[in-house]
């Protein structure tokens, strides 16, 4: 038997191997198998600890603000992955096994991202996170920095939308949840974070963190493609006139507009609010976010009813609030809540 004989034939069996979802799943099997523990063992914490200790307090604070929303975001998406698995197996998606296969890979990958940040934060940046110990699942709250900015509100919203979609939600509910998760959280907030991270690495090269981010961003790229494929399916059925799918594009646009407010606030929180010591540049970050949103909403999904000025207005409103916001005070408030919860958990 030669090598070609062992290659499964396209479309053989119950699994549609021509499906984009199958291709994404297969890529996850091939590329998503990195091991967070092994990565840490191989690269080690020492170099990163040395760089971390050399940073000024405001530089550490900027990293802490970025990492806060990544770790709480990963916690939230790991929690919601099970809901995505439920949602993609509903009849609204013709119950295709390929989607479920990819959703299971997504769940594993999100758990691994959580694991990596957990290891990293606990071993390198812990001096900036005295309130990290108590898990949200065990009565804790998000990290005070996350709660202080738009990302925290966005993750809360994500949980609600994913629950609505998974538990009897219709295509409009699913469209909202997928837009929030795959476009808002993964497609703009996280990818904006990678952009910020790349700039910050120029001034503060944290090798292990960078390596982890590289693996994570590759995984997230597949998740975003998956989400856009789901949304395209829903839009296609709406365009075909299927009654239950009417309103899908409207829901996508409304959710995207809502989310850009949270994202703009987070962008300002990690840059302008603290004087941007590691040189991310808020202007460049906004332009990057705008392009990412435009690529997904206009180029890929080609939303019919999009009013780009609504999008800018939502960002402008968020910016106005951000300018008046005393984030330090909000962080202190959440620090206090955390301490109370920690004491209660100890009792």
């Amino acid at each position: 038997m030669d090598a070609s004989d062992s290659t499964p034939e396209s479309g053989a069996g119950r699994i549609d191997t021509d499906s984009t979802y199958y291709e994404l799943y297969q890529k996850s099997v091939e590329l998503g198998t990195w091991d967070a523990e092994k990565l840490v063992e191989k690269v080690g914490f020492e170099e990163d600890r040395e760089v971390w200790e050399s940073l000024a307090d405001d530089e550490k604070e900027q990293w802490a603000r970025v990492i806060s929303y990544f770790i709480d975001g990963e916690h939230a998406v790991a929690q919601d992955a099970r809901r995505i698995m439920t949602t993609v197996s509903t009849p609204w998606f013709d119950r295709s096994i390929e989607k479920e296969m990819f959703a299971s890979a997504l769940a594993l990958e999100e758990a691994k991202h959580t694991q990596f940040f957990d290891l990293y934060l606990s071993n390198v940046m812990i001096d900036k996170f005295p309130q990290y110990e108590l898990d949200t699942r065990r009565g804790g709250v998000q990290i005070p920095r996350t709660d202080a900015c738009g990302a925290g509100k966005m993750f809360d919203r994500q949980g609600t939308l994913q629950a609505q979609a998974a538990h009897g939600g219709d295509p409009v509910d699913i469209a909202r949840a997928a837009t929030n998760y795959h476009i808002g959280v993964e497609g703009i907030l996280a990818r904006g974070g990678y952009f910020a991270k790349n700039r910050m690495m120029q001034e503060a090269p944290l090798t292990l963190l960078n390596k982890g981010f590289q693996f994570i961003s590759t995984d997230e790229g597949r998740h975003i493609t998956f989400g856009l494929e789901l949304l395209e399916e829903l839009i296609e059925k709406e365009r075909q006139g299927v009654p239950e799918y009417q309103g899908v594009q409207n829901a996508i646009w409304e959710q995207a507009v809502e989310d850009i407010g949270y994202i703009t606030d987070t962008g300002y929180f990690i840059t302008g609010d603290i004087g941007d010591p590691l040189g991310v540049d808020f202007d460049d970050l906004v332009n990057r976010g705008a392009r990412l949103a435009g690529d997904m909403l206009f180029d890929t999904l080609d939303i019919d009813n999009a009013q780009p000025r609504d999008y800018m207005q939502a960002a402008a409103d968020a910016m106005e609030e951000a300018r008046d916001n005393d984030y330090g005070e909000v962080i202190e408030k959440y620090d206090h809540i955390y301490e109370q919860k920690k004491q209660a958990a100890g009792d």
Binding site: F282, D295, P308
Partner: protein
């Protein structure tokens, strides 16, 4: 000149993107009460001046004959109507390249001369015009060639500077170098995208989100004055204009 020909004559200020059009735009910005209101405080404590960077005007691929007909038809008619003797005299001072071009063509002299001039690439046109020809050229073509020479870079870019402060347009200018004047914001796009923008076909926010336009400057200020920034491009699309390409 017939009534129909009179209807087809336009002033330089009607052609976009010329310095004269920019002055009309300046007047429209100044006249807009809505802009005065929404841009109140703009440019105070920061540089609020804009540059519209219009890249790659199609002057390399287009010829004089590709310009709107009303711009060149009088030149074409004028040359074709000149008696050969007079035309010979006019052509005596023509650059050698023009004379050779006419020589290499076939047909009556007037036809050869007219075709040579109309088939000249726009980017080369200022160098191929001589004093004698300018005397028989329509004024608008003369003005446009001056504009091309003085306000369009060799690469075919136009940098339109718009001074803005506290709700007022403080002046306009065209630059040959982007750094010739201080500015706080630069809106950049290819000529084709600018045409879509100033005709209202492309929304400025959609243009930026899709990457067809690029905005460089303080985004906090843009978001703070988002209504004014949008109104500025709306006024540009409402200011009447004719396109050269």
């Amino acid at each position: 000149m017939s009534a129909q020909q009179e209807e087809e004559t336009y002033e330089l200020e009607e052609y976009w993107p010329t310095t004269a059009w920019l002055e009309v735009y300046e007047a429209d910005l100044t006249a807009s009460e809505e802009l005065s209101e929404k841009m109140s405080g703009w440019g105070q404590g920061f540089n609020g001046d804009f540059v519209f960077e219009i890249n790659n005007l199609p002057i390399e691929e287009n010829t004089v004959g590709d310009l709107p007909e009303e711009v060149w038809s009088a030149l074409d008619t004028g040359i074709r109507q000149l008696p050969d003797g007079v035309l010979d005299t006019v052509l005596e001072d023509a650059p050698e390249e023009v004379q050779n071009g006419i020589e290499e063509r076939e047909g009556p002299l007037a036809e050869r001369a007219a075709n040579e001039l109309l088939e000249t690439r726009i980017e080369n046109a200022p160098d191929k015009v001589w004093e004698g020809l300018r005397r028989v050229m329509p004024e608008i073509l003369n003005d446009l060639l001056d504009e091309l020479e003085e306000n369009v870079t060799d690469e075919g870019h136009v940098y339109a500077w718009i001074g803005l402060e506290d709700g007022d347009c403080t002046g306009t200018d065209t630059l040959m170098e982007l750094d010739e004047r201080d500015k706080g914001f630069v809106l950049t796009g290819e000529y084709e995208q600018w045409v879509r923008l100033v005709t209202g076909e492309l929304d400025v926010v959609e243009g930026i989100m899709s990457g067809e336009l690029e905005l460089d400057g303080d985004m906090q200020k843009i978001l703070q004055y988002s209504d004014a920034a949008l109104l500025m491009t709306d006024v540009a699309s409402e200011t009447s204009k004719r396109f050269l390409f």
